[in-house]
Amino acid sequence: MDKNFAARRRRDLIIAAVLAALAALVPLFVKDVYVQNILILTLMYAALSQSWNILSGYCGQISLGHALYFGIGAYTTELLFTKFGVLPWFGMLAGGMIAAVIAMALGYPFFRLRGHYFVIATIVIAEIGLLLFQNWEWAGAAMGITVPVRGDSWLKFQFLRSKLPYFYFALALCCLAWFVTWWLEDSKWGFWWRAVKDNPEAAESLGVVVFNSKMGAAAVSAFLVAIGGAFYAQFLAYIDPESVMGFQFSLLMALPAVLGGIGTLWGPVLGAAILIPMTELTRSFIGGSGRGVDLIVYGTLIVLISLALPQGLVSLFSRSKAKGATR
């Protein structure tokens, strides 16, 4: 049985490596900038959702306020770049660390809340963050920050002629988030998180320090999401509070994981691969007829999935565990 387990882990790793290699070849065939754009966003949201999944899927602390960490990553990077000339790479790391610290500072009071109360708190905190940035003059307030053009360079992580570098970065980020999850899944933290999600009281009786587990999950999750935010800011070359900290980001991190399979290794990637292209396509095809039609489309999809496959789309692939269960 031990062998089965090790084999399954190795198989996951091989599948991921093959998928990543295939994804890396895609730009050789896809030259259309519009499609490339969709691919970049898909990879980015897959990475974000994978990171969100660590706190909300594995550890069970549903957050609808991760836009805050996304925005913090974006703002830290651009403020450091425009005001102090710090390279985006360092800004990215700084943003990640600030987001992790803020996530823990917020976790300190809010991890005492359970269930819906916790979810509500995350929404409210993210909205407060948005308001603060809208009114913070030094950070550009509602006007936002335009990233000064310095020409294509990896050093400044800025590319105007081609989107390909962004594509490869998003792919790398997606691989990183996946790999971190894969690695944590078979670690003390991974087991602690799942135990906390399923039954905090029982977890506590087995030596799991529930509070610390949640703090750890929040920090890792926020760090990775902030890296995504930093990337997005460089990709857009312009940020304002609504475009990097709006509520829609919180939703777009949660939905792929929920659709694909919350608390699973492959759920977020699978969910993002379906949801994000669909969102972008419906937006451009039905676009002009008002915002929100795309939302109706995938809102319906979410409802259907949750009715038919409550464990998410990955449950179609997993060799049914129920087989062993029937006696």
Binding site: S187, K188, F191, R194, L206, G207, A322, A325
Partner: protein, 243 residues
Amino acid sequence: MTALLETRGVWQRFGGLIANSDVSISVGRGEIVGLIGPNGAGKSTLFNLIAGVLPPTQGSIWFDGEDVTHMPAAERCQRGVGRTFQVVKSFETMTVIDNVIVGALVRNTVMREARRKAYEVLEFTGLAARADVLASDLVPAEKRRLEVARALATEPKLLLLDEVLTGLTPTEAQTGVALVRKVRDAGITVLMVEHVMEIVMPLVDRAIVLDLGKVLVEGKPAEVVRDPKVIKAYLGDRHAVSA
């Protein structure tokens, strides 16, 4: 040698309700002690105080020579207190082996070792064949067994069993009894809450009877069941007289 577990003058009040009043008990190393009493006697409260779910209103709790009165549950587990829950609390979305690994991680930091320890415990508790099944798919008797397995994986000095034998068929209960004996033979002290007298009494070395939050009687099982106070508490005055 000092007792493994001792409660000294423990009180627990919930508002106006007194669940435990001045309870002082001790459990020696290697014993199987039964904590019994009619419904509402304060067994579960005392149990939770010992496990560290909440601190007592008054009094102190000593484990292995150390005052653990205000120590949280997780830390007590690290010191060697293992417990099961009366209403089973399996990690439902996890497999049986994964449930047990959570417990094994207390003393094994390397995953491979924790996994090996967990398999060992599954063999010991007779659940090895069900290792890869989801906990939610177990039958009730197996879930009880999983509770015990999980607690054993933490390698406790003291195992607290909360009604693990209640609600089982006679055959299941007998396997349960055999398991408890096996646990004691492995050198683990057992404190068990039960109210099915006929199953517990042959099993335990000593019985402590709680009634209305107080220790009513304490002694060898054979003496305890004949004690008029115990009969009165369980069956009422009339039967006590006829005994």
